[in-house]
Symmetry: C2
Subunit: 412 residues, 2 copies
C-alpha cells in the first residue's frame, strides 16, 4: 500500500486536488504540495485548513520546485518520502515530473498530455510522441503511471470502457461531449490556463473515423446536443487528448470529441486567433523586445482560479457510445453533472477545476488501495472503471447512465 | 524665403511627404529624411527615385536620428541646414522635435498632438498640455510652428475657417466627418500606427457643445451620413485633436468629430479593448517579463504601410458647418474625396497616408513661399485657408463645397 502524496502545481485544479487529498488523508497519509511559487501553495494549504478539510490530523507541507527540472522533482520526492505524485502543473512539465518518478519509484498521475512550449497540436497519437516512449521504462522499474486521469481525458475514458464492457458486444462509435453551461460573469475568461486552453483550438481538429485519422478545422462542425440537466447546447468537434488513446485502444470505433461553445466565446476566439494573438511564436515589438502573444493574452485574462466565487450553473460531460448487442443497435450516454457553486462552497474552486481535480485524487486513492497500482504505465480505459466510479461517487462526481428514457446511477 | 526640408519619420505618411517634397523640390530645395532606422529612410528615397519623383535634380539624403532627443534633432538641423522640419514621426516625439526647431530657428510642422507614451487621452484642450506652452517661446524667437497640418487635424480646420468666413455671419456648429470607404483586404488592420490609432478610441470621447466640454463613451453615438461619392456611411462620435483647437478658436460653435467604422472594426476593437489588449499599461507575464499589450497587438497587425498595394476604394473627409447669414440658417459641407489606388500609383502609399501626408507638404510650400511663414505658433484655422486650398488643389487633394444641391470646387 502506497502512501504520502506530493501534488505538483498550485492553480485552480491543484486547489481541488489539495482539498480532496485532505478529505481523504486517512487513506493517502502525509500530504505535500510544490510549485514554482511557494506562496501559491501556502495559500492553498491555508484554504484547506480554513475549510477544516483534513479528515484527520496530519502533515500538509508546502515546497518550492522548478518542475521542468526532473532532478529537482526527484530530490523533492526523496525528501518528502512521497510514494504517489499527482501532477497538475502545466502540461509543459509532465515528462520532467515523470522522469522524477522513474528515478525514485514513486507512482505518477497526470491529467493532460505533455506539451513542449515551442510546439502546438502535434500530429496524433500524441501520447506516442512523449509518454508512451517511457512505457517500457515504467514496466522495467515497476513504476505505476496513470496517464490522463482528469475528467477529459480520464473519467470519459472510463465511461467509454464501461459502456462498451457493460452494454455491447461490439463498439461502433464514441462521442465525448463536454458542455459547460455555467456563467462566470466576466466579459471573457478561460476555465483553464489560457495557454493550454487556446492551444487545444488553434490547431487542426484530429479525429478517428473509419479506422483512420481525419482532419477538420476548429468550429467547422457544430451540432446541437440535448443533454441531461443542462438541456440543448451546441458543441463543436475539437481535438482532445483522449481521442488519441481511445482510438489506439478501440481502433474499430469512430472516436470524436465535442466541446460546447457559445457564440461570444467563438467570436472572441476568432478575433484573437485571426489577429495572431493566440500564437506561441514570439513577435518582435517595435522597441526590440521579443514576446509570445499568447502569453500576453494570458496575462490580460482573468486568472481561471479567480472565477470561482461568482460562477453559477452546471457542467455536463459524458460519452455517447454506440454499438451492437446480440446483433441489435444499442447506445448509452454515460455522464456526470457538476455544479459550479457547490464546488466553490466545498473546495473554493469552480466546477471546471472541480471536475478536473477530483478524478486524479480518486486515482491516487485507487493506487493507495492497490486497485490501480499497476507497476506500469496505463491510460485510464486500460483499467477497471468500476472501482474508479465507486470512489468518484463517494468523493463528489457521481456517474449516471442514460439509455433511451431510462436515466439512473451507473450501479442502480 | 525658407528652403531645405528635413522630414522626421519613415512610416506610410513619411513616404507620401517624401514623394510630395520631391515633386516640389524646385520650391523646397534640398531634402533630408531621418528616423530611428535609417534603412527605412533609404527605402523611401529609393522609391522616390524609382518613381522619378524629383521635379529637378537635387539632394535627397537619409539620416539616423533618435527624435526623442531634442539635441540630436538640433544637431541634424544644423548639419543639414534645414529651414523647415516636417515632423511625421510618432506623436511621442513632437515636443522633442519642436525643441530642436526652437534651438535652431527652423520652422516646425506636425500633423498630430504630442502624446506622452505613458498617458492616454488626457483631458482637453490637449494642445494646452504641451504645444501651446511653447507659443511664447516661438514668438520670442520668431520660430514658425504650424500645428496639426495633416488632414484631420489640418485641412478640416481650414475647411471650418473657410465655411465660416465665406458663408456665415455666425457659426453654430462644426461637425467633422471622416469616412474611409476603402478596403484593404486584410482580416483587420489600422490605417495608422495602431498605438496612435487605438489610443484615439480607448478613452473618453470629448466634444464641445453649449460652450463647454462634454463627454461620451466611444461608439455611444452613431449616425448615418449621406456623403458625396462614398454614399451612406455610419460614423461614430469620437475624440479628435482638432476639436480642441477649434473649440478654443470658435467657442460659440458646437464642435464634434465623427469617424466612420464598419461593424467588423467595432467588433474587433471591442474584443481587444474589453480583454485589456489595447492597454498601454504594462502587464507582467507568468515568466516575469513586463510587456505593454498594445505594443504586442501592434506587432501582430499588418504594418499600415503594407496595406497600400491592395487598397481599393475612396475616402471622404469633410466639415458640415452650420450657422446663419443675414438672419437665415445656412449650412455648407466642405470636403475632399481621395482614392486609395490612385494614391498608391502616384506615391506608393494608401489613401489614408496620402490624405495625411500631402497637407504638411502644402504647409511647407506655403512657409517656403512666405504665405504661412508666421514666425510664431499657429493652428491651421488661424491661417488664411485660400492659399492652402490652392496648393492642395495642385498637389493632389482638391477641395469641394456642397451647399444644398450645389456641389462644386471651392473656387468655381
Amino acid at each position: 500500500m502506497k502512501q504520502t502524496v506530493l501534488i505538483i502545481g498550485a492553480g485552480g485544479v491543484a486547489q481541488v486536488v489539495a482539498h480532496k487529498c485532505a478529505q481523504n488523508n486517512d487513506i493517502l497519509g502525509d500530504l505535500h504540495i510544490a510549485s514554482r511559487t511557494k506562496a501559491k501553495c501556502d495559500a492553498i494549504v491555508e484554504s484547506v485548513h480554513a475549510k477544516g478539510a483534513m479528515k484527520q490530523d496530519g502533515v500538509f507541507e508546502t515546497h518550492q520546485v522548478d518542475a521542468t527540472q526532473s532532478d529537482q522533482v526527484a530530490d523533492l520526492i526523496r525528501k518528502t518520502g512521497a510514494e504517489i505524485v499527482i501532477n497538475v502543473g502545466t502540461a509543459f512539465v509532465n515528462m520532467h515530473v515523470l522522469d522524477g518518478c522513474l528515478a525514485t519509484g514513486a507512482a505518477y498521475i497526470d491529467t493532460a498530455i505533455h506539451e513542449e512550449p515551442d510546439k502546438i497540436c502535434e500530429t496524433p497519437p500524441w501520447y506516442a510522441n512523449y509518454e508512451w516512449k517511457k512505457r517500457d521504462a515504467c514496466a522495467e522499474k515497476g513504476v505505476t503511471a496513470i496517464l490522463g486521469a482528469g475528467f477529459d481525458p480520464g473519467v470519459v475514458n472510463a465511461y467509454a470502457r464501461y459502456a462498451i464492457d457493460e452494454f455491447m458486444d461490439e463498439v461502433k462509435s464514441i462521442d465525448i461531449v463536454d458542455v459547460n453551461a455555467g456563467s462566470h460573469g466576466k466579459y471573457f475568461a478561460t476555465n483553464f490556463d489560457p495557454e493550454i486552453n487556446f492551444r487545444e483550438f488553434t490547431g487542426v481538429v484530429y479525429y478517428w473515423e473509419d479506422g483512420k485519422w481525419k482532419e477538420k478545422s476548429m468550429f467547422e462542425t457544430g451540432r446541437e446536443w440535448d443533454l441531461p440537466v443542462v438541456g440543448k447546447q451546441t458543441a463543436y468537434q475539437s481535438g482532445h487528448d483522449e481521442v488519441h488513446s481511445l482510438a489506439t485502444n478501440y481502433p474499430q470505433a469512430d472516436v470524436r470529441f465535442w466541446m460546447g461553445f457559445g457564440e461570444h466565446y467563438i467570436n472572441v476566439f476568432t478575433v484573437l486567433k485571426n489577429i495572431g494573438l493566440l500564437s506561441e511564436h514570439p513577435v518582435r515589438l517595435a522597441e526590440g523586445q521579443e514576446v509570445v502573444p499568447l502569453k500576453v493574452v494570458k496575462a490580460c485574462l482573468p486568472d481561471p482560479s479567480s472565477l470561482a466565487p461568482n460562477y453559477t450553473g452546471k457542467t455536463c460531460i459524458g460519452d455517447l457510445v454506440k454499438g451492437t448487442k446480440n446483433g441489435s443497435d444499442v447506445e448509452a450516454f454515460v455522464y456526470n453533472v457538476a455544479d459550479h457553486k457547490d464546488a466553490y462552497e466545498e473546495v473554493g474552486s469552480q466546477g471546471i477545476s472541480y471536475t478536473a481535480g477530483v478524478p486524479p485524487v480518486a486515482a491516487a486513492i485507487l493506487i493507495a488501495q492497490g486497485d490501480w497500482d499497476t507497476k506500469t504505465m496505463k491510460n485510464v480505459e486500460e483499467l477497471d472503471p468500476k472501482p474508479f466510479f465507486t470512489v468518484l461517487d463517494r468523493i463528489g462526481l457521481p456517474t449516471r447512465v442514460q439509455i433511451g428514457n431510462d436515466d439512473r446511477p451507473w450501479n442502480a
